[in-house]
């Protein structure tokens, strides 16, 4: 294994991806796109893990990435199922129209 020289730029990319995802979650109204943005954020953190793992020469980063991958898959499946149900109930995917749980 050789250590990447430009770890900073990789982390920068990961941060950029994370921010894009975060902005998507915050800005988009469509719940499907919000889910997509969450995926982007997850992948951004996965990228950071891999980069860090390669930098330190440790397998942990890749292990974490596999873990994130599995988790993202599980999350997407449940999330999509929920979205289907929401669409079924409300005939809409607009997050602002379905806020019912307020204090």
């Amino acid at each position: 294994m050789n250590t990447p020289d430009n770890i900073e730029s990789i982390l920068l990319l990961a941060a950029l991806l994370f921010c894009i995802g975060m902005a998507g979650v915050m800005i988009r109204k469509n719940i499907l796109f919000m889910l997509l943005s969450v995926e982007v954020m997850l992948n951004a953190s996965g990228l950071a893990f891999i980069a860090a793992g390669a930098y330190w020469g440790q397998p942990d980063g890749q292990v974490m990435f596999l873990f994130i991958l599995a988790m993202a898959a599980a999350e997407v499946s449940i999330g999509l199922a929920l979205i289907l149900q929401i669409y079924h109930l409300h005939r809409s995917l607009d997050i602002d129209k379905i806020k019912e749980m307020n204090g």
Binding site: M22, I95, K99, N102
Partner: protein
């Protein structure tokens, strides 16, 4: 003989228990039998005791039934103690008590709560006997508050009228104020002598307090407070006139003959302590003199016959206090006994009049009863003569003259007190004559509906006899030496020391007699010779003001109402909801407000939450970086 002691309170107590438990189911004959029988039995026991004490006046009887409380050196017992002083009281309580019970048999017979009345009266006699016979302060206190309770229950006997309940509570609360003072005095005494035994305290006090006049002063002041409340003396005197709301036998027994003289008994019993505090003795004399004048003026203008008698009672007890204050111990007790006879007689006769005229209390609507109720007239006349101290013939003269003389010549006597007492004598004669004239002379204004029967007449006759004879138990020293009464009391009360005086007892007697006649003549002038003069005088505004002032008892009720009752009611009404609870409530509502405003954050909008999380993360990160 000592073994008989417990029977004295036991008989009335048994009567009380029986009447309370099954009184409702008994016929009125049986109720009367139990009620009167118990007191009569007690009376017989007290006569037996009295005879044996007469034979051996230096002895005393004591008997402890059981130890009440036993903690370390605090061991008050249910101990009874009778010496000659207690004996005089026992005699009056049981004999006058029995007579009043006989009277009440007829007086209260028609009342639906006959058995309740009798049971309360029996309880009263029991408590009063305990008060007098107690050998320690705690038991005395039991009797002391016990008589207060009975007084409360009997003043408010006709409970459906709210005014009666008010009078009853007023009496109880005001006397309780005095009781508290007595209780604190008791505590003080306990820590001084490590005991509450009266005989022990009296024996130890002179030696132990010789060098601590301060302590003697405080303790005797506290005891005096108790006596003032119970005996209706200034400044705790204004409950007694209202206490007349009770049935007449109650007024006779409790509010004239016995309970209200408990203060006199207490001071006489603790005379050894009071002698160590001359300042307090002087105070007692002043209080007595002030009270007898205040009450005498008030008695002068009352309309209600029972209120006249009530104020007269306050005034006469004032004389007793005056006597105690100047150190004339036996004179005070002698006046107590004589007063018990004639005042009980006056109240019973007044009750009979009120009953005969169909519950008419106002003297101005009576009149002309001399021929219609002759028995009542003659007995009332004998008692009134005693009250007004008609010279030589009446018992009141012999007892009051002694007090007057000692007020001048006694150890702590002085001319100012003497002149106050003389004015009091004048007032007494005036209001007594006024009462006699209004009730028995003049035109009849009310119909006589129900003349008294035998059971009411008999006690009147016996009391009249006692009243006429009691005076001859003690003659003034300048007449001839015949003083069995003070000789009898000698073993428990010290002789009155007389200081040299340029003024002889004879002159004092003549002065007193003159006062009596002048007072009686004033009343005769205004109410018989020139009855039209009074309405004219009333047009003078200052005279009208005086009349109102005296009629309302110098506005003491209003003063206390303003000073104590109103502020208390105001504070309690303001604080009904409890400010402290309010504080906790405001805590709750503050929490609720905070929770409500924080729950606004939970809007249900997912993006809002994300925003919150991001902001939080940024905040944390920046904190991390900055710090």
């Amino acid at each position: 003989m000592s073994n008989l002691l417990w029977l004295l309170p036991a008989f009335p107590f048994l009567g009380f228990v029986l009447l309370t438990a099954i009184g409702k189911r008994l016929s009125s004959r049986h109720v009367a039998l139990i009620g009167v029988g118990s007191i009569t039995l007690a009376g017989i026991v007290s006569l037996i005791l009295g005879i044996s004490l007469l034979q051996h006046p230096l002895e005393h009887y004591s008997h402890t039934l059981w130890i009440w409380i036993d903690i370390g050196n605090f061991q008050p017992g249910m101990g009874l103690y009778v010496d000659t002083l207690a004996m005089v009281f026992l005699f009056v309580i049981t004999v006058v008590g029995a007579l009043i019970h006989v009277y009440a048999c007829e007086f209260m017979e028609k009342d639906p709560d006959y058995s309740r009345f009798m049971s309360c009266m029996n309880l009263f006699v029991c408590a009063m006997l305990l008060l007098v016979m107690a050998d320690n302060f705690l038991l005395l206190y039991l009797g002391w508050e016990g008589v207060g309770l009975c007084s409360y229950m009997l003043i408010g006997f006709w409970y459906e009228k709210p005014a009666n309940g008010y009078a009853a509570r007023k009496a109880f609360t005001m006397t309780r104020l005095g009781d508290i003072s007595l209780a604190i005095g008791m505590m003080y005494l306990f820590y001084e002598f490590n005991s509450l035994n009266i005989a022990k305290i009296v024996a130890l006090a002179p030696e132990q307090w010789a060098l601590q006049p301060q302590t003697a002063l405080i303790v005797t002041l506290l005891l005096l407070g108790g006596a003032l409340g119970k005996s209706a003396q200034f400044p705790l005197h204004n409950w007694l006139p209202d206490a007349m709301a009770g049935p007449s036998p109650v007024s006779a027994l409790i509010h004239a003959a016995t309970m209200v003289t408990a203060g006199v008994y207490l001071i006489a019993r603790m005379h050894a302590l009071f002698e160590l505090a001359p300042a307090v003795q002087g105070l007692i004399a002043i209080i007595g003199a002030v009270t007898l004048l205040l009450a005498g003026f008030s008695a002068l203008v009352q309309y209600d016959i029972k209120r006249v008698l009530a104020y007269s009672t306050i005034s006469q007890i004032g004389y007793m206090f005056l006597a105690l204050g100047v150190g004339a111990w036996t004179a005070a007790i002698f006046h107590f006994m004589v007063h018990a006879f004639f005042k009980a007689l006056l109240f019973l006769a007044a009750g009979a009049i009120i009953e005969a005229l169909h519950h008419e209390h106002n003297m101005f609507r009576m009149g002309g009863l001399k021929s219609k109720l002759p028995l009542i007239f003659w007995t009332f006349l004998i008692a009134s003569a005693s009250l007004a101290a008609v010279p030589l013939l009446s018992a009141g003269f012999y007892s009051k003259d002694q007090i007057l003389w000692y007020t001048l010549a006694g150890q702590y006597g002085n001319p100012v007190l003497y002149s106050m007492a003389l004015v009091g004598a004048l007032l007494t004669a005036a209001y007594t004559a006024r009462m006699m004239l209004l009730v028995f002379w003049g035109q009849a204004k009310s119909q006589v509906l129900r003349p008294p029967g035998t059971r009411m007449s008999l006690p009147l006759i016996i009391l009249a006899l006692l009243t006429s004879l009691a005076g001859f138990l003690e003659f003034p020293h300048n007449f001839f030496h015949f003083t069995p009464f003070s000789d009898f009391l000698n073993s428990s009360l010290p002789l009155t020391s007389v200081k040299e005086q340029g003024f002889s007892e004879g002159i004092s007697q003549v002065l007193a007699a003159v006062m009596t006649f002048v007072g009686a003549y004033i009343a005769y002038y205004f109410y018989h010779l020139r009855p039209n003069l009074l309405p004219v005088l009333k047009e003078q505004s200052w005279l009208l003001f005086l009349q109102q002032l005296w009629l309302k008892g110098w506005y003491f009720d209003q003063l206390y109402d303003f000073l104590w009752v109103r502020p208390f009611q105001w504070i309690t009404a303001k604080n009904k909801e409890d400010v402290i609870d309010g504080w906790y409530s405001s805590l709750t509502s503050a929490t609720r407000t905070m929770s409500d405003s924080l729950s606004l954050l939970q809007s249900g909008s997912l993006r809002w939450y994300v925003m919150g999380m991001v902001l939080g993360a940024i905040l944390l990160l920046s904190l991390q970086i900055l710090l």
